[in-house]
């Protein structure tokens, strides 16, 4: 529904000048509700909510068209370790739901199997709330009632483990990942199973925000912050490599930044068992963050992890995905790599060198190890 936009602009300016606190509260209520909707639902929602009040509609439209760093409320969070929290309208406090929104329809779309307060796995865990969707499967924050601590529970693709925790490859991956104890690596605790056979992992709960959502919100990070993050990523990656654990799917959405700004790398070695939001199981890794060789069924290696590290750091430093986010799968002509300094002139030269070396197409030309990358960093 498009009204003549010039007329609209004039009227909106007028409307705003005289806005009262009551009017603002009304706008706020509707704005918040609209943010919970999919892009395609917003128009019809405004049609209904603003019947007979074009000024209200224009006010809302002018706010909704602002770039929302938080594209959907809840993706920004600042508090969810694993990124996007799906926030159906049903989760809104009652007074924020406009009367004419079909709450049941919104609730039906809710993909989470467990609700806060539910106790699962032989009374052991109390679900506190959903944590992540995205590329991470279903993840919950839960209270471990025996150990009396908060943990993250990650549900895995049933098909991939055959619903059988004894699936030897899975167990051995987790057993190895569990050996990695480092402040920059999310600790894996244990494999668990529900009565219906479903398998999950319990892991350290980090109170923070994943790097993907931080970058969505902030664009890029400052040069100093980028170097600090680079340093900690190298430390975590190096410790895992030292234990013989490859990450295989390093990307911003499985890097968590805690409240003090420190890095925690999640999902070491278990990428292959984690379903995506669409329920698909990645072959291994996420295309845009995979090293070129991996598409041709070459073995993942320390160097393929370092390539992914280069991609991550590039995005942190510049706010843009290198190669325009096109996967290096050889299916499309490789885009030219724009040096980070073109996008962010104040980047530390040492960091730029480290990034470019990690992004060498030939694995043998990438740095030897994560420590070698760290050595290139300034300071």
């Amino acid at each position: 529904m498009d009204h003549g936009s010039r007329v609209v602009a004039a009227r909106t300016r007028q409307g705003r000048r005289g806005m009262s606190a009551e009017r603002y509260a009304q706008v706020r209520r509707l704005f918040v509700a609209a943010c919970e909707l999919a892009e395609s639902e917003i128009g019809p929602f405004l049609d209904q909510a603003c019947v007979g009040d074009p000024e209200l509609r224009e006010e809302l439209e002018s706010l909704l068209k602002q770039p929302r760093l938080t594209t959907i409320i809840g993706t920004s969070s600042g508090d969810t370790p694993h990124g996007k929290v799906l926030s159906p309208i049903a989760d809104l406090p009652r007074e924020l739901i406009p009367a004419d929104i079909p709450v049941d329809a919104a609730r039906a779309a809710k993909p989470w199997r467990f609700s806060p307060g539910e106790i699962i796995a032989a009374q052991r865990y109390k679900i506190l709330g959903p944590l992540g969707g995205g590329g991470l499967g279903e993840v919950y924050r839960a209270r471990d009632r025996i150990m009396d601590q908060d943990v993250a529970l990650k549900f895995l693709a049933v098909g991939q483990t055959g619903g059988d925790p004894a699936c030897s490859r899975f167990v051995s991956e987790v057993a190895t990942a569990r050996e990695v104890a480092h402040p920059n690596v999310v600790r894996v605790y244990d494999i668990g199973q529900l009565a219906d056979g479903e398998v999950f992992l319990s892991m350290e709960f980090i109170d923070g925000e994943d790097l993907a959502s931080l970058l969505r919100r902030a664009g890029r990070l400052s040069p100093e912050k980028t170097v600090q993050i680079a340093r900690e990523l190298c430390a975590g990656l190096g410790a895992a490599h030292h234990q013989g654990v490859l990450h295989r799917d390093l990307k911003p959405s499985n890097i968590v930044i805690d409240a003090d700004g420190h890095v925690h790398i999640a999902d070491f070695g278990i990428a292959a068992f984690v379903p995506t939001a669409a329920g698909e199981i990645p072959l291994a890794g996420t295309p845009a963050f995979m090293a070129p060789g991996l598409f041709h069924h070459k073995q993942p290696s320390k160097q393929s992890d370092l390539y992914a590290l280069g991609l991550v750091l590039y995005e942190v430093a510049t706010g843009k995905e290198p190669f325009g986010g096109v996967p290096a799968d050889g299916l499309q002509a490789a885009a030219e790599l724009v040096p980070p300094s073109v996008l962010c002139p104040e980047i530390e030269p040492g960091l730029q060198r480290a990034i470019l070396q990690c992004l060498e197409e030939d694995p043998s030309r990438r740095p030897e190890s994560a420590q070698a990358v760290a050595a290139l960093l300034p300071g």
Partner: protein, 192 residues
């Protein structure tokens, strides 16, 4: 080496309770003094192209003033809330004096520090921000406070929730609105 202000701030913070006026006022005065000294140093060095990161100053003041060991998380949030308010006053006063001296030219730009991330692209004109904040205070004082806490104090969503005694989800929702509103307001100011 700890200044006398520093140990006093720690003590005041321990006792701090929003209802207790004396501790609150004394703490504000101390924080204000410390921040002013820090800001003066930065602003003195400031060049035209240089942007100031208020939350960096606030955190620096926190490190200087508060004995880290005895302070719990909630105290920290409260300290930052007080410091955010002080920081806002200092910066706005400074910008006003500056503008008076320069007759409008060379307005001050600050980097809006949205928790961890500081990016130069999001610099805003401080006095335009102050105008917008004053306006928003009349429409929705809580949202205005949220901006103060986030931009001038560098409080995280969780810390804002704590200080304002509301849920993190509520802060997130409000924050989306606040940002959209502010972007529109400031965008308009620039165009005019």
């Amino acid at each position: 080496m700890k200044s006398s202000r520093s140990s006093r701030a720690s003590q005041l913070l321990e006792r701090f309770d929003p209802g207790e006026r004396y501790a609150g006022e004394q703490l504000f005065a101390d924080v204000y003094a410390e921040l002013r000294a820090l800001a003066a140093r930065y602003l003195h060095r400031e060049r035209k192209s240089h942007t100031l990161q208020p939350t960096a100053l606030v955190h620096e003041a926190y490190l200087k003033l508060v004995d880290q060991t005895g302070v719990d998380w909630q105290d920290r949030a409260h300290f930052l809330a007080i410091a955010a308010h002080a920081m806002r006053q200092i910066l706005v006063d400074h910008a006003r004096r500056h503008r008076a001296a320069k007759r409008g030219g060379n307005r001050h730009r600050i980097a809006l520090d949205d928790s961890l991330a500081v990016e130069s692209r999001r610099d805003v004109d401080l006095l335009a921000l102050e105008d917008a904040l004053t306006k928003l205070t009349k429409l929705d004082p809580r949202q205005a406070q949220m901006i103060e806490l986030r931009f001038f104090g560098g409080l995280s969503i969780a810390e804002v929730a704590k200080v304002m005694a509301i849920s993190k989800r509520s802060v997130e929702r409000e924050w989306t609105m606040v940002r959209a509103w502010l972007r529109r307001e400031l965008g308009r100011g620039d165009a005019a």
